[in-house]
């Protein structure tokens, strides 16, 4: 039997790490169980010539492709978008591009402002101080003064625009549209012991330089030094509860595959918008026959994934677009806020993305037919390599109960735990938004001088990075899973701090908001330690 702990965190990714760091100053006994392992920076593909290929192999963001021991399969046959993640210390931050935009004030008030979905029980001002704390720890680069946001000061100077960014900036200016250097969790100068970015261009297969803000090198060293314990290769099967509807701990499989029980006074879920509902649905009991903390029936519902569509422009002049951070270097929020005249509610942002390395240029060009085999091969390759700019349309995805995470009746992980099944479809509002966004993306590329526009399937399948809304927060226990500070309505010592608690998705990358919520929940718990379970 393991010694009981005060707080047991499940998951060592973006939210679990931030939460652990914040709670460390309570000096409570805090333990985190993580199903994956630490990633050794020397193993990152950027240290090898074949780095581009490994994005389709052991460093693929798709767990069904990556198939590491610690990965669980996801049945996404019933979704046009596949689920992407990484299982290990750092979670999704290991492979994310580190694009770090905040939600906007209006994102928390979609019912009041636009008459759709629900308002959040918290608002921008609730999270604002935690955004700032988080920006410091993650090392966010950016430029103050963005007119798309309330004033705030990113701690580090922006990533370089490069020729690519300048080219698109001129295009946006010709159209009179908003654009701004993106906020990105990449150290553009030495920051808290992290080396500055050297433009490897390999962010999405891991940052060998350590410049990218991944929580294995940001929050976790601080939390561990403060006394938090982290056990890797421990996969939680279920959460245990007593007859008083209180969580008592978890059952997990350790690194040797042995079943273990870990008792805890408080259980905190930080497993992302797929892993958290999966674990809750796997934790059935007489008192919770439909899954733990699921008396509302909302666990696993309202899955939102930010449908993504993109076009790529080809330019005559060399742009060196294959170099530099892979995250968005500039973005336009011209179409972010609702305008009823566009035929849809809510909005999207246009994200300017860089080009590809030679191998990816050749492989994707071959498969798409843009770079054919035969006599025209070299001319076509030269026309594309280093001369393309992507413009992505990142759409707000409104919650719908029909978009779900459930348990697959047959599929399991390597420990025999039922795997998640995703059932997801695009709403008509989203389709109209995508169509509008793609037209604007083409317009922007042409204004910037693109001579050719390369199209993609809509939506692009391998883009399900953002898994949100499957255990949403709210003040009504009948319509939400956790309250405004992350505590389960049904189980008073069970908390959720990951993207599951999002009420709506906004239209931007969610990691800074996920972490700000984790810090907010930690702070709320610390403020209520004397009566946490009342």
């Amino acid at each position: 039997m393991n010694d009981p702990v005060d707080i047991l965190i499940i998951g060592a990714g973006a939210s679990g790490a931030a939460f652990a760091w914040s709670m460390a100053d309570t000096r409570m006994r805090i333990l985190c169980l993580e199903q994956g392992d630490w990633v050794n920076p020397s193993d990152y593909p950027a240290t090898r010539r074949d780095w581009e290929l490994r994005a389709d192999a052991d460093f693929s963001p798709d767990p069904n492709v990556r198939r590491r021991r610690e990965d669980y399969p996801v049945n996404d046959d019933h979704s046009p978008i596949s689920v992407l993640n990484f299982n290990g210390v750092g979670g999704g931050t290991i492979l994310y591009a580190a694009h770090f935009p905040r939600l906007h004030p209006s994102d928390f008030r979609v019912r009041s402002l636009d008459g759709v979905a629900d308002d959040w029980p918290i608002d921008y001002s609730t999270l604002e101080p935690w955004y700032a704390v988080n920006d410091h720890h993650m090392g966010v680069a950016g430029l103050a003064g963005d007119p798309a946001y309330p004033p705030h000061q990113p701690p580090l100077p922006p990533v370089p625009l490069g020729r690519l960014g300048e080219t698109m900036a001129r295009g946006f200016n010709r159209l009179g549209w908003h654009w701004w250097p993106s906020e990105i969790a990449i150290a553009t100068r030495e920051h808290e012991g992290r080396a500055p970015c050297i433009n490897l261009g390999t962010c999405k297969v891991g940052c060998a330089q350590g410049a990218k803000g991944t929580v294995d090198i940001t929050y976790w060293p601080l939390a561990l030094r403060a006394g938090v314990r982290l056990k890797t290769r421990c996969r939680v099967r279920e959460i245990l509860v007593d007859d008083n509807d209180m969580a008592t701990g978890v059952v997990y499989y350790d690194s040797d595959g042995r079943e273990q029980v870990q008792r805890a006074e408080v259980v905190v879920l930080a497993c992302n918008g797929i892993g958290t509902p999966r674990l809750l649905l796997n934790s059935t009991s007489a008192r919770f026959p439909h899954g733990l903390a699921n008396r509302s029936g909302q666990v696993g519902k309202n899955l939102m994934m930010h449908p993504w569509a993109a076009v790529r422009g080809v330019f005559d002049e060399p742009l060196d677009s294959q170099f530099g951070p892979q995250a968005v270097c500039i973005l336009s929020q011209q179409f972010y806020e609702t305008d009823p005249g566009r035929g849809f509610v809510r909005g999207y942002n246009l994200q300017v993305t860089r080009g590809f390395g030679p191998l990816t240029t050749a492989r994707t060009g071959h498969l798409r037919g843009d770079i054919p085999w035969g006599a025209g091969h070299h001319e076509a390759f030269a026309r594309h390599f280093g001369r393309t700019i992507g413009v992505g349309v990142c759409c707000e995805d409104l919650p719908e109960e029909c978009n779900t995470v459930t348990l697959d009746p047959a599929l399991t992980d390597s420990d025999g735990i039922p795997a998640p099944r995703i059932t997801y479809r695009l709403a008509d509002n989203t389709r109209r938004m995508i169509g509008h966004g793609l037209e604007r993306a083409r317009e922007a590329l042409r204004a910037a001088g693109a001579t050719e526009i390369l199209e993609n399937p809509v939506p692009m399948r391998a883009t399900g990075w953002h898994q949100l809304g499957t255990a949403r927060m709210g003040t009504d226990p009948q319509r939400s899973v956790v309250n405004e500070w992350g505590r389960s309505h049904d189980v008073k010592n069970l908390f959720i701090v990951d993207g599951s608690v999002f009420v709506t998705s906004g239209g931007v990358n969610p990691t800074p908001t996920i972490q700000a919520i984790a810090l907010h929940v930690a702070d709320a718990m610390k403020q209520r330690l004397a009566n946490l379970f009342d």
């Binding site: 010539r49 290929l53 300048e166 433009n199 929020q333 030679p358 240029t361």
Partner: protein, 160 residues
């Protein structure tokens, strides 16, 4: 260099005829550039070795090479590798239309291996090295381009 693992198959090596056919096909897929700057795939021993290995292990590739040879013999009475460029093109184009997966896979394997060769990377004007630890330079960019954006003012909605 890491290359994609071919599906296990039954044959360990290619017959001499298949090897000659394959070499001729590679020369058609990625020929030398007209200005002579970029080498052809068939001229690079590592590419040739890798693709031979892939073709030897994949029945669909071996069958495809046999079909090409058969078609060349039927149409021109000569081996595919012995045909002139124009005749090879006719046979290969027809084959590609009838059996798209074979040429797609062969082409993908070829460009995958080709664009990992030091000589190819250097002729593209890049250094043949991993990105880390040296990295690359990116121009900082002109932030005065933001002036019109700033001048237009706030665009977010207050919602508190």
């Amino acid at each position: 260099m890491t290359t994609p693992s071919p599906t296990p198959g039954a044959d360990a090596t290619l017959t001499p005829v298949r090897r000659e056919t394959l070499r001729a096909v590679l020369g058609m897929l990625v020929p030398p550039s007209p200005d002579g700057r970029m080498p052809g795939a068939a001229d690079l021993p590592e590419v040739l070795r890798h693709i031979e290995h892939v073709a030897a292990e994949l029945p669909v590739m071996r069958d495809g090479l046999d079909m090409l040879q058969h078609e060349a013999m039927a149409r021109y009475g000569a081996a595919f590798a012995a045909l002139d460029h124009a005749s090879r093109s006719i046979v290969l184009d027809e084959f590609a239309a009838r059996h798209p997966p074979v040429l797609e896979r062969l082409g993908l394997e070829t460009v995958t291996c080709y664009y990992q060769q030091d000589g190819v990377i250097e002729r593209l004007g890049m250094e043949a090295r991993p990105p880390y630890p040296v990295g690359y330079q990116v121009l900082p960019g002109d932030l005065t381009l933001l002036n019109p954006v700033i001048a237009r003012g706030k665009i977010y909605r207050d919602a508190s």
